[in-house]
């Protein structure tokens, strides 16, 4: 049975062309780009090309604004910690309750270190209140860090507008764009975004490579010191094979943007409509009119997400869930809780995330398989009887 991979927000398959581009950098092109001899020089040229490919995808003004890092998490940490160290008198951070743990866990740690963190709330569709945000901006705030697109729901935040507001207040602005890059068009030079994080493995490059975009003129303090690499802003010998791979992947992502927002979006919409048409007591979460073109997060009420994933997996379909049981924690995802989803729905969310490799046949098959799985599990559920919920009839001894 062919497998159907619909978990592209978790990670993507490395494009074969990307693999071809990177392979020589494990063999004949092994030089250290810092070396003066020809071995190093050739690799140095390749890194410059990669930098320009990423610059083009992001619409950055200069290629020197692209810093290669090891991953999105490193980029996030570098950005936030840099802003704090560069502006020691500013002791506040603004972020949102639905950020990725790469930002949230760092902010929680910084709170313990004495910083004040303002967490912007979201409404039932996962949207921010910009008036509340505006009121928090002050000369005490070192940095705003808000994601461009949510990894679970795909909901887009108005980061371009928020960066303008921060700029007017004289506050640095960072966005974790790990999910957004390559899926929606960007033109950073026309925005006031100071820093942006991206991760290679979300756009068909390998794992272990990321980028921090750093607008020219932004005050900066490096996280890693000890070398002149990346103009002294990120010491450590360059991961040249992966950088070349990310460059190639960025070039392909840019060429794919239209496909992503037409073909992939249409397949996503077809999948979502197809499932919701056949399954009652289910709904798409997040801001469905303003989200990534590849993501559909569906809450199936009265059943639990891990069970759905296990049955999908048995059918060769890979997706993911915000349910507690898939993560090892006992609580459903912080994103679902922040949107106020009831527990009977929050535990039953399944995220389908498509890519340019997703085909119409695959979507048709998922639409055909999902309703049966949902029905099978609901028949096991104490909240369900003969095709309808009986929530009131079940009252657990502790809750």
């Amino acid at each position: 049975m062919d497998t159907i991979y619909l978990d592209n927000n978790a990670t993507t398959q490395v494009d074969p062309e990307v693999v071809d581009a990177m392979l020589p950098y494990f063999t004949e092109q092994f030089g250290n780009p810092s070396s003066l001899h020809q071995y190093g020089n050739q690799v140095g040229q390749a890194l410059k090309t990669a930098r320009q490919q990423v610059q083009s995808l992001l619409g950055a003004e200069h290629d020197s604004e692209i810093l290669f890092t090891s991953c999105g998490t490193e980029s996030d940490s570098t950005a936030i910690l840099s802003a704090l160290k560069a502006q020691p008198n500013r002791r506040e951070i603004i972020t949102s309750v639905v950020e990725h743990p790469a930002v949230l866990a760092l902010c929680e740690y910084l709170e313990k270190e004495g910083y004040t963190v303002h967490y912007l709330e979201v409404d039932g569709q996962g949207r921010l209140d910009l008036d509340a945000y505006r009121k928090l901006l002050s000369d005490q705030v070192a940095i705003v860090s808000v994601m461009w697109a949510n990894n679970e729901t795909g909901t887009l935040f108005p980061v371009v507008e928020m960066a303008e507001m921060a700029w007017e207040a004289g506050v640095m602005f960072h966005t974790d764009a790990v999910q957004a890059v390559g899926k929606i068009p960007m033109d950073l030079k026309s925005t006031k975004i100071d820093m942006l994080s991206l991760s290679g493995h979300k756009l068909h490059a390998p794992k272990g490579i990321g980028v921090l975009y750093l607008r020219r003129g932004t005050r900066f303090r490096p996280l890693l010191r000890g070398g002149h690499q990346e103009r002294g802003r990120r010491a450590g010998t360059e991961n040249s094979a992966s950088i070349v791979a990310l460059g190639k992947a960025a070039e392909m992502a840019e060429a794919n943007l239209e496909h992503e927002n037409t073909v992939v979006k249409r397949l996503r919409d077809k999948l979502e409509a197809g499932i919701l048409e056949k399954v009652n007591y289910a709904f798409a979460t997040g801001d469905v009119n303003n989200r990534l073109p590849n993501t559909s997060d569906i809450a199936f009420e009265y059943i639990e997400g891990e069970s759905i994933l296990l049955l999908l997996n048995k059918e060769g379909i890979a997706a993911s869930s915000g349910s507690a049981c898939t993560s090892g924690s006992l609580e459903p995802s912080h994103v679902m809780r922040a949107m106020g989803l009831p527990y009977t729905a929050a535990h039953g969310t399944v995220r389908f995330s498509l890519s340019r490799y997703t085909t119409e046949e695959e979507i048709d098959r998922v639409i055909a398989v999902v309703p049966g799985i949902i029905e099978q599990l609901r028949n096991l559920s104490p909240y369900w009887k003969q095709g309808a919920p009986v929530q009131d009839a079940f009252d657990p001894a502790y809750a």
């Binding site: 009265y302 891990e306 296990l310 096991l380 009887k385 657990p396």
Partner: protein
């Protein structure tokens, strides 16, 4: 994806006894919606013999919750109620060839549903003290509530103590920062400030390992066990001298205190004999052969030294050494 055993997968994909039981005369509803589990267990009990004739379940939950429910019904069918009440959550897990540590609460839920259903059949009220917090120690599946309660009840002030009392943090040590946070919070309640640097030292791992090793080998290695800092264990000779009887009573007290935590994991510890500074104990149940036994012993030994204010050595024995009148 979880590393589920074949048996768990089999019981999840083909659950036994799923669905409603119309003629049920004992029903137990348990669950915690916040953590995504709810289970209804329905029993049909023969009123003359108190034998479970049939059992069915309905479960809202993850793969292991459904598999645990299925296993539970298979285990208890045909048993009398008194026999069924002997079924432990470990037995449910064992029936499934084990559950991942994070999923052990699924088997606990099964046992509780059984208690609730039997209470319902007997017309009794079933109360559960079950309170589940966020999982802190994933190695031993110890949650926040349990750690908090233990810290409060025993006035603990260091990660090492928490490990000794609950086992939390005794494995991979990834949760030590989390335990420190809990300590800081609970100690603040009693007006104290947690300081990571002031932690009570435990015996170095080398000693812990050798304690668990063959008792005789350990005897030669740890004649003078821990170069323990004075704050924790005053040198022998200081403090009032205890009579033999007082000394043994104190040793017994420490052992008794340690037992509930071990029993929670279906293990136990028994005092065999005291010979000078050597305290012979026997680990039983799940403790015997447990990888963490040395950690447990080190903790108990440490407490004993603090109580007695002298060096003692805890020696695990499989049975009373020859010539000892145990």
């Amino acid at each position: 994806m979880w590393n589920y055993s074949e048996k768990v997968q089999e019981h999840f994909f083909n659950p036994r006894n799923a669905g409603e039981l119309e003629e049920a005369n004992g029903v137990g509803d348990v669950g915690s919606l916040s953590c995504g589990d709810a289970l209804r267990l329905m029993l049909k009990v023969d009123e003359k013999t108190d034998t479970i004739l049939d059992a069915r379940f309905q479960t809202f939950g993850c793969g292991s919750a459904i598999a645990s429910s299925s296993a539970l019904t298979e285990i208890i069918k045909g048993k009398t109620l008194d026999e069924a009440l002997q079924v432990s959550n470990q037995e449910i897990a064992d029936f499934l060839d084990g559950l991942p540590p994070e999923k052990m609460h699924c088997s606990v839920m099964g046992r509780e549903a059984l208690q609730a259903a039997i209470a319902n059949y007997r017309g009794e009220e079933w109360h559960d003290d079950h309170e589940e917090g966020a999982l802190v120690c994933k190695c031993f599946a110890i949650d926040e509530v349990m750690i908090e309660d233990t810290i409060r009840a025993n006035n603990l002030s260091s990660v090492e103590e928490v490990t000794n009392y609950t086992k939390a943090g005794g494995g991979c040590s990834a949760c030590h920062e989390g335990i420190e946070d809990i300590l800081a919070r609970v100690m603040a309640e009693r007006g104290e400030v947690f300081s990571a640097g002031a932690a009570n030292p435990v015996a170095p791992a080398k000693n812990a390992a050798s304690v668990a090793a063959d008792a005789e080998a350990a005897l030669t290695q740890i004649e003078m066990p821990t170069p323990a800092p004075e704050a924790a264990v005053p040198p022998a000779g200081e403090g009032p001298k205890l009579t033999n009887l007082q000394r043994i009573r104190k040793i017994e007290e420490v052992i008794e205190r340690a037992r509930p935590a071990l029993q929670r994991d279906r293990g136990d510890i028994e005092l065999i004999d005291v010979d000078g500074r050597r305290v012979y104990v026997k680990l039983t149940g799940a403790c015997s052969g447990c990888q963490m036994a040395s950690m447990t012993l080190t903790g108990i030994q440490q407490q004993m030294m603090e109580e007695l204010k002298e060096f003692v050595q805890l020696v695990p024995v499989s049975k009373a050494p020859a010539g000892m009148g145990a």
